[in-house]
């Protein structure tokens, strides 16, 4: 998947899963704030990324994934 495809797919899947508008999912936006995540719904982020991109984000890597840009980087480098 190209980076452009990853960006488009992230916007589509996360907006549907977390019921937010696609346009709030921007590269510099902070994921936790944008998707209103708590400790439980964070598990859903990990699960959705896993189903959609077949990429597992271990708990130890989560602190480094703060913005959507970080998430695109992570998916791109772990495909």
């Amino acid at each position: 998947m190209t980076r452009e495809e990853i960006i488009k797919k992230v916007a589509e899947t996360l907006s549907e899963e977390f019921e937010v508008e696609q346009d709030v999912i921007t590269p510099d936006a902070v994921i936790y704030d944008t998707l209103d995540l708590d400790s439980l719904s964070l598990v859903d982020l990990v699960a959705v990324v896993q189903y959609t991109f077949k990429v597992k984000i271990p708990v130890s890597d989560l602190p480094s994934v703060k913005t959507f840009n970080d998430l695109y980087d992570y998916i791109e480098s772990h495909q």
């Binding site: 977390f18 209103d36 439980l40 719904s41 598990v43 859903d44 990990v46 699960a47 896993q50 189903y51």
Partner: protein, 407 residues
């Protein structure tokens, strides 16, 4: 001191309708909620008869995070409970300042469990189950969700007793209030209605195969019955002590005057006569009710040969020469299983308040066992002030409620 226990509100989410008015009319009109599902047939069902129950749209009422914890049956239960609370005039402010409990019937979480474990097995990773899976896939999912959503601070308990689950939920709520341990309890039952929950039930060939005539498939007490039709949905009733209801100016609809229960101590799926008869007898005895005071019996009868016949004989044994009117509303709704006792309590309440008995659809001719009861085949205008509702379940668990009208 023993308390009188009254019903002050009810709500329904059923294949016959999703408001009390619509369901009352559907009962009166003899509407059938039974359909044929090509989807189930394609999946491999022997009998693809079922019911259609719409999913309530809760997006505007419950946050996404909270909905993640709710399987289908909890959503049905929420919708029925919201109606019942409104019907009872119980708002959130009142609930926040008083101890209101919940006892609700549920005995499966099949689809939620399957979805979570499918993902776990596919990805070999527990977090793939998602955040809601643990809360969706426990049998107490309805009571845990509703207690948090409505901020309930009283008893919080799930009743799991097969097809007697919700009747026993109401019975236990009645007992707690009667004994002065609670003032107000939300009670009822829900049943998931997806294509997975009853796959194994279909596997034991318990369902009617009259697929070419869905509305004629469920025919309790009829000679040509050939099995049940699975259904789903939810029903809620609000129980309060009479004193509590009067004090808060609640609408008092009816009074639970008797509850009986028993175990067959016998076969896991084949019922007997003695067990149900003891449940009926105990309900009458506990309520101090003479059988002739009962104006209508809402039977458990699911449209199986063994079950309907033995229930008919149990009714005959207890009511003797008094030909009490009997119907099974499952002829219209299919078998709402874990929700059945509560749903049938609501259906019977609607009939009692509406002055009619909904006809037992498809009752054309009795067989040797069912000829002993007075089955009402067509909707009949009839005033009655007391009904008895039976619910029986696998494992030989029986529950009988007796409810008296309050004008």
């Amino acid at each position: 001191m023993e308390q009188r226990v009254v019903i002050t509100g009810m709500g329904i989410w059923s294949c016959l309708g999703q408001t009390l008015d619509d369901v009352r009319q559907a009962l009166y009109d003899g509407k059938s909620g039974i359909i044929f599902s090509q989807e189930r047939k394609d999946m491999g069902y022997r009998s693809a008869l079922c019911t259609y129950v719409p999913m309530p749209d809760l997006k505007k009422k419950i946050s996404r995070t909270q909905r993640q914890f709710m399987p289908e049956e909890a959503m049905y239960a929420y919708a029925a409970t919201e109606q019942a609370l409104q019907n009872a005039g119980l708002d959130q402010d009142y609930i926040d300042n008083h101890e209101v409990g919940i006892i609700y019937g549920n005995d499966s979480v099949a689809e939620a469990t399957m979805n979570a474990l499918d993902r776990f097995r596919e990805f070999k990773d527990t977090s793939a189950c998602g955040s809601g899976a643990i809360f969706q896939s426990m049998n107490s999912t309805i009571t845990m969700n509703l207690a948090c959503l409505f901020r309930l601070r009283g008893i919080n308990l799930t009743s799991a007793a097969a097809c007697a689950s919700s009747s026993l939920a109401i019975g236990n709520a009645y007992l707690l209030i009667k004994n002065g341990l609670s003032d107000c309890i939300i009670t009822g039952g829900a049943q998931e209605n997806n294509a997975y929950v009853v796959a194994s039930f279909d596997g034991i060939q318990a369902f009617s195969t009259r697929e070419d005539e869905p509305s004629k498939a469920c025919r309790p007490f009829d000679k040509n019955r050939d099995g049940l039709v699975p259904g789903g949905g939810a029903a809620t009733v609000i129980l309060e002590s009479y004193e509590h209801a009067v004090k808060r100016g609640a609408p008092i609809l009816a009074e639970i005057v008797g509850w009986g229960f028993s175990g067959n101590g016998d076969h896991i799926s084949t019922p007997n006569v003695a067990g149900p008869a003891r449940s009926l007898e105990l309900a009458l005895k506990n309520g101090g009710v003479n059988p002739t005071e009962v104006g209508y019996v809402n039977a458990h009868a699911t449209s199986t040969h063994a079950g309907d016949g033995r229930e008919a004989m149990a009714i005959k044994q207890i009511f003797g020469d008094y030909a009490v009117p009997v119907t099974s509303t499952k002829s219209q709704t299919g078998h709402e299983m874990w929700a059945a006792g509560a749903a049938e309590c609501v259906y019977s309440m609607l009939m009692m308040k509406g002055g009619f008995i909904a006809g037992n659809l498809n009752f054309e001719e009795p067989d040797e066992e069912t000829a002993c009861v007075n089955v009402i085949p067509e909707t009949t205008e009839k005033h009655f002030d007391m009904f008895l509702s039976n619910s029986f379940g696998f494992g030989g668990t029986n529950s009988t409620l007796i409810v008296k009208n309050i004008e």
